[in-house]
């Protein structure tokens, strides 16, 4: 493990108007790790993901990526440091084809590695290859999720942020996506920071995890520790949802 974490979020506070959405949040992600952030709806998980990209911007605290202070960098410059995100709601460009969406992901290198990388994405998600000429807005939810992740991978990220990759998907597709994340981490050493309501799946996948409640990180530990924790079990794992 590197001496300095790849992503270091320290004492972040983010506001929507006067409402504080994040309250002195500290999170670190080391090179090569999969880190999960779990919590209920409205806990501030997606806000943290977007705050890392400076949109919205943190009012206090610092965010460091690979040794660079990115707290006040413009969003597109943060992206150019090779952080990619599959954001909340997937945000596929609806009137662009699948191919154009993937090309947008590869625009940092001006499509230099497009042919090579698109094959890798098709290897992970063969379904996208069949849909290549279809407009993004006409894809099913699962396909859009695959496209959103694929688009993020096209940027050759050092850090991949995934916001609820399992949201609204059939269990089989969730498994497929989690397998894909694990494979990328194992074979390419991709560092992943993911937000999930599917706490069970996420904690099983992750090396470490954080629990967020009302804009605060209330607990952290290895995936196994959190899975075994009675509080976590009671709040996020039992009661039918997993």
């Amino acid at each position: 493990m590197a001496a300095q974490p790849l992503l270091d979020v320290r004492g972040i506070e983010t506001y929507y108007g006067n409402i504080r959405a994040l309250n002195s949040v500290d999170v670190t992600v080391d090179q090569g790790e999969i880190v999960a952030l779990i919590g209920a709806n409205g806990a501030g998980k997606s806000t943290l993901m977007m705050t890392i990209f400076g949109s919205p911007r943190a009012r206090t605290g610092t965010i460091t990526f690979a040794g660079t202070d990115i707290t006040n960098l413009p969003t597109h410059e943060i992206a150019r440091l090779r952080i990619a995100q599959s954001p909340e709601g997937r945000r596929i460009f609806p009137r662009m084809t699948v191919m154009e969406n993937l090309q947008m992901g590869a625009s940092l290198d001006n499509l230099k590695y497009y042919d090579e990388d698109v094959e890798k994405v098709f290897h992970l998600f063969p379904r996208l290859k069949e849909r290549i000429a279809q407009r993004g807005g006409t894809l099913s939810g699962g396909e859009q999720q695959m496209l959103s992740i694929g688009r993020a991978l096209m940027a050759r990220p050092k850090l991949l942020l995934l916001d609820e990759p399992s949201l609204g998907l059939a269990p089989l597709i969730v498994k497929q996506i989690f397998d894909a994340i694990r494979e990328l981490n194992r074979t390419q050493g991709l560092t992943v920071f993911l937000v999930e309501q599917n706490a069970f799946g996420a904690l099983k996948l992750a090396n470490r995890g954080y629990v967020m409640v009302n804009g605060r990180v209330t607990m952290s530990g290895t995936g196994k520790e959190l899975l075994a924790d009675p509080e976590v079990r009671a709040a996020y794992l039992e009661g039918g949802r997993h």
């Binding site: 597109h76 990619a84 954001p87 947008m104």
Partner: protein, 300 residues
């Protein structure tokens, strides 16, 4: 029948000019959701720049081939209007992004007045005529087609082809469309949104400058208030075609051109502007999303 076809030819000429201007309205609307009311005046400044370049060329050289003269006029007009539009966006619209929706609209009207008054003060309030640049007229099967009209259509078609390629086949065009569909996501993928918006204003201004040059060549006269009527007609064209849609802007421009020339030919030439503007009201009431526009509901 010949009379009708003659009007079609005239309408096509007018429509080409309106279409070129309308693209600027529609692209800016597509990307930042505002109507740039100063766009008509950008067109007028394009025409004035062409006029000044024409006079300078005439004073400096004994004779310049018409094609070369037109080309130089267009290029200088494109550069200067681009500079104007780029500056306007930067100083007047960008600071208001994220403000309430009417703010940039009101500012745009202000910029429109500022530009036309600026030209009125610096260039004088009277019509500025130029001697005819091209005067050949061909008679094809009883229909007279002037070389001016042919030039206008050829320039428009080639410009639209280049423009189509830029928007649909290049990284820049892809970034523009991405910003139009989801600005925040485009930024997450490394697109410099501000820069992309600036380029959009430059592209719109360039097309308007060419339209201005063609307008000057066609009518042989320009005045400071010329931004208004052609500007509003092009805006009508953009609304008719479906604001935000580039093919719609071209289609709308052609339709307005046809309506205007047919109305002048068969009804009353004095009321041709009334006819064109009535279309605006009718479209807004009965077909608010235009012919090729997307219904507003689709925007999630």
């Amino acid at each position: 029948m010949e009379y009708f076809v003659q009007q079609l030819v005239n309408g096509l000429t007018l429509g080409s000019i309106y279409g070129l201007i309308a693209i600027g309205y529609t692209m800016v609307y597509g990307i930042i959701g505002m109507i740039n009311f100063a766009h008509g005046d950008i067109f007028m400044i394009g025409a004035f720049t062409a006029l000044i370049v024409f006079l300078i060329l005439g004073a400096m050289f004994y004779s310049v081939p018409v094609v070369v003269a037109l080309l130089i006029m267009m290029i200088v007009a494109m550069l200067l209007t681009s500079l104007y539009n780029w500056t306007i966006e930067k100083v007047a619209y960008r600071p208001l992004r994220g403000s309430f929706r009417l703010a940039p609209l009101i500012t745009a009207i202000g910029m429109s007045i500022a530009l036309s008054n600026f030209v009125q003060v610096t260039q004088g309030p009277r019509n500025k005529p130029i001697p005819p640049m091209v005067s050949q007229v061909y008679n094809i099967a009883g229909i007279s087609v002037s070389l001016k009209q042919i030039i206008i259509v050829i320039v428009t078609v080639s410009l639209l082809a280049i423009f189509w390629y830029l928007v649909n086949k290049t990284a820049l065009g892809r970034a523009q469309r991405a910003c139009e569909q989801d600005r925040r996501m485009a930024a997450l993928l490394g697109v410099d949104v501000d820069r992309t918006i600036s380029i959009t204003f430059i592209m719109g201004a360039s097309l308007a400058a060419v339209a201005g040059t063609l307008f000057l060549m066609y009518y042989g006269v320009v005045v400071f208030s010329d931004g208004f009527v052609p500007g509003v007609k092009a805006f009508t064209a953009a609304v008719l075609g479906g604001i935000g849609s580039i093919p719609g802007a071209v289609l709308g421009g052609l339709l307005i051109g046809f309506i205007e020339s047919m109305w002048s030919a068969y009804f009353s030439i004095d009321y041709k502007d009334v006819a064109a503007f009535s279309i605006l009201a009718i479209v807004l009431i009965f077909l608010p999303s235009g012919i090729l526009g997307r219904p507003e509901v689709e925007k999630v």
